[in-house]
């Protein structure tokens, strides 16, 4: 299931503004890769280029290559809709569909694509909710609205929704920033379990979180406001947090800036 991501020479623009410049990195399958860096350095933008969500923003465009397995996501004839089925995404704020029940929220990816059998659907919903550690909390209220759950439960519901379509890669854009420490812990545990099956990329502002959950960490930075964000370095998490090879990384991690 899980596939390697290979990015080379990637630039992303908003209109004529170059937001991130010349990024190359490899994301290993069945591992957790964390992106850290100051606000506005292009972590989220880069994350969104990995499933072609960047171009949904008006004026968004991308140059360069993103290889998923042996296919270039930005190659000719690639359907962005198909890409997004392979590379799922969890957003910063929990966003369950307000018109749908818990069950329908999890089944949304399959139902809205029209490719499912009723009998299978029950299994997939249960499996996904168990996978997101939410089954025991919601099994008696599957037909209640998804927006009635607590914030942490909603975020796990969104994770269940994302893994129900069986993607190869799961992108998480600050998935815990709107949650309390207990819900954060639940989601971090979940990330540890999910990496057995998926390639996971997570953007976070919380450096302890990056140190706790990730195998590899990438540090992004920008020279000044209005300048494009760049990848400073990517390495094993342990190395980044103990002995990074670039001074800027050490300054950022230890809280010394500029």
């Amino acid at each position: 299931m899980a596939k390697r991501i290979d990015v080379s020479g990637l630039n992303a623009y908003y209109g004529s503004f170059l937001a991130i410049e010349d990024i190359s990195m490899t994301v290993e399958p069945r591992s957790v890769t964390a992106f850290i860096g100051p606000s506005g350095c292009g972590k989220s933008t880069f994350l969104r280029t990995l499933n072609r969500m960047h171009e949904v923003t008006s004026g968004g465009r991308v140059e360069g290559k993103v290889m998923l397995g042996d296919e270039n996501l930005y190659g000719a004839g690639i359907d962005p809709v198909a890409v997004r089925r392979e590379v799922g995404m969890v957003f910063q704020r929990p966003n369950p569909f307000p018109t749908m029940s818990v069950y329908d929220n999890v089944a949304a990816g399959l139902k809205l694509n029209g490719s499912y059998k009723k009998a299978q659907l029950d299994d997939i919903v249960e499996k996904s909710l168990r996978g997101a550690n939410l089954w025991n909390e919601v099994k008696d209220r599957l037909n209640k609205p998804g927006s009635g759950l607590s914030g942490g439960q909603q975020q796990r519901l969104c994770i269940a929704r994302a893994i129900a379509v069986e993607p190869n890669v799961l992108l998480m854009d600050e998935p815990c920033s709107a949650l309390d420490p207990i819900s954060t812990l639940a989601i971090e545990d979940l990330i540890g379990e999910l990496k057995e099956r998926f390639t996971i990329v997570i953007v976070t502002h919380n450096m302890q979180q990056a140190a706790r959950v990730s195998d590899r960490t990438a540090f992004f930075n920008l020279a000044a406001v209005g300048q494009p964000g760049k990848l400073i370095e990517i390495d094993d998490t342990e190395r980044i947090f103990s002995n990074p090879s670039v001074q800027a990384t050490e300054d950022y991690i230890s809280g010394r800036f500029g």
Binding site: N51, M53, V56, S58, V81, A82, V83, R84, R85, E86, G88, M89, F91, R93, N95, F97, P98, T99, A108, G109, K111, L112, N113, G114, K144, P145, S147, G148, C158, R161, A162, V165
Partner: protein, 354 residues
Amino acid sequence: MSHATLSGKRPGGLRGATLPKWFPWAVAVGATAAGLGISAAAGLQSSIQWALIAAVLFIVGSYAVSARVEGRRQAKDRTATSMVWVAFLLAVIPLASLVWETVQRGVKVLDTYFLTRSMGVVADSEPGGGIYHALLGTLEQVGLATLMAVPVGVLTAIYLVEYGRGNLARAVTFFVDVMTGIPSIVAGLFVLSLWIVILKMGYSGFAGSLALAILMIPVIVRSTEEMLKLVPNELREASLALGVPKWRTILKVVVPTAIGGITTGVMLAIARITGETAPVLLLVWGTNFINANPFSDPQASLPMYIYLQYSNSGGEGPGYDRAWAAALTLILFIMILNLVARGIARWKAPKSGR
């Protein structure tokens, strides 16, 4: 030190003199009595005059008393509150009196007989007869107009919100704005010249519904657009990130989230065109007989029925009563539509129940 200067500036501390709760009511009663007294003394006849005098006395009086007792800031607050109340009454009085007049005069002849008979064999000066033909005509014309306007309006709004970029979208928005301002008689004349004069079609309910649809479209586009804009972008992104194509995202996520508001907008548009008289007068032509076919020959409609019954009655007699009863029917019809719209909006609204 600073503590001392602060309390020195505010001798009363946190507690100040306050007027009792019944104070505004007392001033209102006093102002009304004074207004009545002044107009009686001056020999003024019109009730508008004493009401205006009372309103002015109420505002000035509550300011003066409050300024003496409570201080200037509270007095200003009371003035603002008084003006809001006066404005509220000014807005409600015409509305209440309109409903009262219509109900009072309308119930005289409004019964099932009236709702199920036409004017076919009844002269305008005779009692009896009913509005069946007009009610049928209105329902058919408004129904056809809705069938034409809702798809066009909703799809236009979807285009503007979800797809529209650049000049085309700007042009569409501009023309929708222009269309919102079209007087109904102009829409009627447009259809008259196109449908009846150039294409040589006859007067019919359908011709009327064409003009009504023209009036309806901009209202629906505007309200639907606002409702679609309220759908959070996060929901669209969540759906797109699941690998759902854009058109299915719109159909299954965006529109269902906004459906309550869209329905309300459509119902309000229907309520608006149901009372339109001018285009119906030009295009549907009117008849005293039942014509169930909106596609050929003149039909009747409620607003036109009211107009004709009143203008032929000379202000009294059976025709006059029928006009009021038909007006009451029209109001009830629109009120029921509004209630249905609210019901649908509540039923379809995104649920947050736990």
